[in-house]
């Protein structure tokens, strides 16, 4: 998985390429750990994300919990299969998906 970040002050845009699974989710988690404390806006671009498993959902949930306290988080360009996973797990109601 590729993690591409664009930061503008306290706004961070993260675009993910590939698969967010058990082996790659820890990479995202540690990459976020460095930045998240100073953010007010976190935006994920999923246009090139092909796959997500529960390990990826866990990272999104913990990021959402953190951002709820200090700003906002949204996920953009979610494909249909990942959208289905969000629906089944109730994540569609927790996350802001645009």
């Amino acid at each position: 998985m590729e993690i591409n970040k664009t930061q503008d002050g306290s706004k961070l845009n993260i675009s993910l390429v590939g698969r967010l699974d058990t082996t790659t989710a820890p990479e995202l988690e540690s990459s976020l750990k460095d930045d998240i404390a100073n953010l007010t806006e976190l935006i994920f671009d999923f246009s090139a994300l092909e796959y997500i498993s529960s390990a990826g959902l866990r990272v999104l949930l913990s990021s959402q919990k953190t951002m709820n306290k200090q700003g906002s988080m949204k996920i953009t360009n979610v494909n249909e299969t990942i959208r289905d996973i969000f629906d089944v797990t109730g994540f569609s109601d927790i996350l802001t998906i645009e």
Partner: protein, 138 residues
């Protein structure tokens, strides 16, 4: 068609495990969405075995994939010789809770139950046998 892979149950082997399943499905009449659901389901179940079955030791898991006809689909079976563990006994997470109240975890098996057409567990001859069936969309 039936294919079998016996592999050390460790997270590092995930790509190999999913590669095995994908190459089987690509020879079958499986659409891409169903393939992804099967990938997610096998990842969850394989990682479960990798984390719990033999910890802190290592052991093998056997993964068997077979085609079904009428309805057309696949059955994926995972067999390990680790400690008895029924993944289906776990209570489903409450998916209506807000982010603050949601627990991190417990989602994997829930996703498997929701996305597969049938899931089945048995403990037999000192082995955990977990089987899931998925029908292809015709």
């Amino acid at each position: 068609m039936t294919k079998k892979l016996t592999i050390t149950a460790e997270v590092e082997k995930l790509d190999e495990v999913l590669g095995f399943l994908d190459s089987f499905l690509e020879e079958s009449n499986c659409d891409i969405k169903t393939q992804m659901q099967l990938d997610v389901a096998l990842e969850e179940m394989f990682v479960n075995v990798a984390h719990y079955a033999y910890a802190p030791e290592k052991g093998d898991v056997c993964i068997e994939v077979e085609n079904t006809t009428d309805p057309e689909g696949v059955i994926v079976t995972l067999t390990d010789s680790g400690i008895p563990y029924d993944p289906l006994a776990k209570e489903d997470p409450d998916v209506t809770l807000s982010a603050a109240d949601r627990q991190i975890g417990g989602l994997g098996i829930f996703m498997v139950k929701k996305s597969m057409d049938e899931v089945f567990y048995e403990r037999k001859d000192g082995k955990n046998i977990f089987r899931m069936r998925k029908n292809f969309i015709s």
